[in-house]
């Protein structure tokens, strides 16, 4: 049975030398910040993701706070991801695509998260990956088609309901045409009320509540359904309100509050779905074997999960369920979003013997790393500077 590497086991001098390495990736990410900003600015034109700049800040802050205290340990595959980042960056600059650059950035962020794999549960890393996927989304032309399809589905559903309710109207690219005015219905269901924001919120909740990957995907599916319902509801009621009160809830301050209301409704429904999924995915209690061979519960689920090695049930199905499907007990305090305690003994994230061996190798190679890290810092600084210059030239030209 493998043993986790205690935090205290890492020599202080190695940690201090490792500081050089710790700033390499943030430097690389900061160098690509213009691409992220440019892509974000481009996204604001799309009502479905116009609230992403706010979501980006919040989610980024949560992620950083979640990972910042964990120490990193680099392996070949992580460096490969960084290499992909550089490759995508070069491609992005040639194609003039901010989206491609952001895909590259997401590789580096995943590499950064994976490098803390020893201290951070896999589900959290997976949630970060999902967050990144939601942020970056699909290639712009595919995304545009998907968005269009989404809008037409919602417009068709809401139009059918409105027509059945006796509202004479028609829908085209300009929005919903009523006798008195034309309303851009995309803003009834866009912004904060967008399904993308709901999906982001859902992933944030999963991260916060330490739900399993299975739970996460079930919840995402449910959230998509909720997005459909809230979008149809927001559109139908929005148009009814325009007709009855004359107030256009698709724009202005009224629009902001309208969308926030629908976001709250959506989050409430996500909470409901989470509970239903939790009913299915709750951990199976461990059973002790009685003298007669019967199994009896040994205690509460949380206690059993924490007490990993001592409370292994011996039942592979139960163990697998509790490892991949059941949520972990929350470790956040209400007062802070930072993890209150990070257990290295969590089952799904316990480092393996190989990991331990690698750690030992890492310690033994420290001297060599010390020499290399200084040169690497210089190289990274030069690359970052080049990246910044290329981006400014590219986007200035494209923007101009």
């Amino acid at each position: 049975m493998s043993q986790a590497v205690p935090v205290d086991a890492v020599p202080v001098d190695i940690e201090s030398k490792n500081k050089h390495r710790s700033v390499l990736l943030p430097l690389l990410l900061l160098a690509q910040l213009p691409s992220i900003v440019w892509f974000t600015l481009q996204s604001t034109a799309n009502p479905l993701v116009s609230s992403f700049p706010f979501a980006l800040v919040i989610v980024g802050w949560i992620t950083v706070r979640h990972f910042i205290q964990a120490r990193e340990r680099w392996k070949f595959e992580h460096l490969l991801l960084v290499f992909f980042n550089i490759l995508f960056f070069v491609g992005a600059m040639f194609r003039g695509s901010a989206w491609l650059a952001c895909v590259g950035v997401s590789f580096s962020i995943i590499a950064w998260a994976l490098s803390r794999r020893d201290w951070i549960p896999l589900r959290t890393v997976a949630a970060v990956a999902v967050l990144l996927a939601l942020m970056v989304r699909l290639p712009p032309y595919v995304q545009s088609a998907v968005d269009q399809s989404w809008h037409s589905t919602i417009a068709s559903q809401s139009s059918a309901i409105l027509h059945a309710a006796g509202f004479l109207h028609f829908v085209d690219v300009e929005g919903v045409h009523l006798a008195e005015q034309v309303v851009d219905d995309r803003y009834f269901r866009g912004g904060a009320a967008s399904p993308w924001v709901l999906l982001l919120t859902c992933t944030g909740l999963v991260m916060f509540l330490r739900r399993s990957i299975t739970h996460h995907f079930l919840l995402l599916a449910g959230t998509l359904g909720i997005g459909l319902m809230t979008s149809v509801g927001a559109t139908v009621f929005g148009i009814m309100m325009v007709h009855w009160t004359g107030i256009d809830f698709s724009s202005g301050t009224a629009g902001v509050f309208w969308r926030l209301d629908w976001l709250i409704a959506g989050v409430a429904m996500i909470w409901c779905v989470d509970h239903i999924v939790l009913l299915l995915c709750a951990p199976i209690p461990l059973m002790g074997e009685t003298v007669t061979g019967r199994k009896v519960p040994l205690g509460g689920a949380d206690e059993i999960i924490r007490d990993s090695e001592e409370c292994k049930s011996g039942n592979s199905f139960t163990d697998a369920w509790n490892r991949w499907v059941a949520p972990l007990p929350p470790v956040y305090q209400v007062s802070s979003l930072a993890p209150a305690e990070v257990k290295l003994s969590e089952r799904e994230d316990s480092p393996t013997e190989n990991d331990a061996a690698s750690t030992q190798d890492f310690v033994s190679r420290t001297e060599l790393e010390q020499v290399r890290s200084a040169g690497l810092l210089g190289l990274t600084s030069v690359v970052s500077a080049l990246m910044l210059i290329v981006q400014f030239v590219q986007y200035f030209r494209v923007g101009g």
């Binding site: 139009s159 059918a160 309901i161 027509h163 004479l168 359904g225 509970h275 709750a282 009896v296 139960t318």
Partner: protein
Amino acid sequence: MDEDQDSRGREVNRVRRRRVREFTGGQNSFLDGVQPFTQLSPLPNLDKSRRDAAEAAVNWFYSRDLSLFYPSAPLLLAVTLFFLASGWGETNSDPSTRLADFKDALQLAIQSEDHEQQHLCLSALGQIEPSNSSYAIQEADLYLTENRPTKALQVLGRYVDPVRSGSPDARLWLLRQTLNNKDVFGLTREDVLTQLHAVLRESRGNREAARTLARVYMMTREWQLAECALQDAANHSPDLNLNLLKLQIVLERPEEIRSETARLAVAGLEALIAEQPHKQDVITRLAEAYYLNGDPQAARDLLNRSYQRDNDETLARSLSRMETMIAEDLIKKSAAFCDVVCSGLLRAIELNPRNLRAIKALLDVSRMNCVIPPDRLSESLEFYRQRAIASDATEQDVITVVWLHDLRGEYEEAADLLQKQLETSPQFLRYNTELLIKAGSGGKASLLAESELAKIRRKQGENPGDIRLKRQLAEILLSLERPSEVIELLAEDFSNVEMAPTADTAVLALYGEALVEYFDQQTELSGLILQRNVAAMPKVSDRLHGRRLIRLLTTAISTVKGEARNPIAMESIDRLVRLVMSRSPAADDAMRTLNSLRAEGSCSLDILNTLSAFALDLKRYDEAVSWLEIASHTARNSNPGILNNLAIALVRSQPAKPVKALEYANEAIRLMPDHADLLSTRGEIYIALSDWKKAEADLRKSLALRSDRSKVHRMMADALRGQGELDQARHHQNQALKLERGIAGQQAAL
């Protein structure tokens, strides 16, 4: 090592026993006393993995916390509501329901003139039925009424895309608007052509597109392209051969091509009228096709029948136009038809009082000494009088009133009216003088003309080379009956007419007119030929004098370059014929001149007609027969007027030849049925043949068409007397007497 294991096993057993006790709550159970090492698994026969699975499933089931299900209640409610609403929407808003709802709403919006609602409904209908462009056209129309052409174009956008497929109807609507109101959409000629080609690509042989395309090409004088466009369209719609034929006439295509097109046009339109017998447009077009195919009688019959059946104003106008065209053709054929033409033109004016063309033609005919009953022009006069006093009256309206007064013999009114126009239109001075002379105010006319003459002479002194002033001067001198001065004025320009081919035709005509008038003065004919007066003969002192006079007339004819039916040529021929008929010393020379002119071919038929007309009027029937036989041969027996005159000459000659005359009369009636003159001629022949009943039938028909001829009443009296119906004969005799008295009164008044 073994001891360790034993102790460990004991410890485990101890723990297990304790847990069993705890599990049973200290109560004894069937498990108590069971050896802990003994395997009492509930699933003893299963292997470990299956047992684990079963255990996990059972544990999963019994460990569910059902209280977690409670928060799902609001979600379930929301989901249920959502599905119910969606289902309700899908059921109650299928396209057919929407279509019906929007159509109802559109009708209401149209009734209440709610434009916003109309726009909404039309846009929605267009979206539900995207292949139906009528909604977009309706909406574009609505936008145009709101003076928003850009929006109209935007609405039509996808239907009038120049590259991709669209809607022919929408394209044609756009073209109609563009061609009717050029700046509304700002389309260029290229845009129009692109749209037209797109329509023809999407709807092959589209009538309207082909016609519009031809029209566009004709506007830019691309005749061959226009002809090709119409030819293509005519292949699909044979009735469009009529449009093609009109173009071919303009382009002077060979006769065989035109006649083939005319035949196809007639066939196509006859097929069309079989399907739509009451469609006025088709009736009118078929009549046009008959006319252009050389069958004006069929055209008139068709329009007559349709007019009598439908009593429609459009058909009346078409019939009026047709009568005018037939009359114009007839008068071109022979002056002998002037009564027939007059009758036709009067009918045309009665059918359509605003028919200006007919009024103008009647004015020309009136100069051939036709009798025009004034009351038949009353309606037209009233119409144009109203037009002339309206705020938007034009000069033409006033002149038309003058013409109508002139035609009605109201010369004073005509002259008064025209005098007001002289300041702005001095070209009417001569006409005004004529009117004043006719009104018996010759002195006033002379004073007026002299005053104008002095003014123009002053101007001419300042600018001697001004041809316009010379023309005005010539006109005034002619109105003052001073042709010698006109000849003197223009002689230097036209001493040799043949050498002045590029001369101003109007001035040339004045020169010719002056020559004829000078001839009249020299032969004492002036003032004697106001009405057709066959007794007025020129006085020639000797042969040499005669030759000088004949030279004047031949020069006059040459000024109009041998143009057939030209008034100057006709007057010159008239004077030459009078010289021949007068048997004066210049008669032989005049005859030779006429023969020479006939040999040139341009006025041959006019000369023969005039000769025969004089011979008939002078009752020299044998002479008339000889001229008319030549004329009939020249006209290939297709001129009903010549045939009619020939029949009259034959029946009245001594000895009479009524059988031969009947043949000619029948042929004339075949060519022009239901004509009063031709019918009365045949009636006369039947009287000569003592076939009273047939005579009565023809004469009755003739009187039904025209009842104001005393001679026909007399013949009718003869025919009735021949059958022993003396009372009726007396009645017609009285009618004849009454009419003759009326004519005598009119002549006395004149």
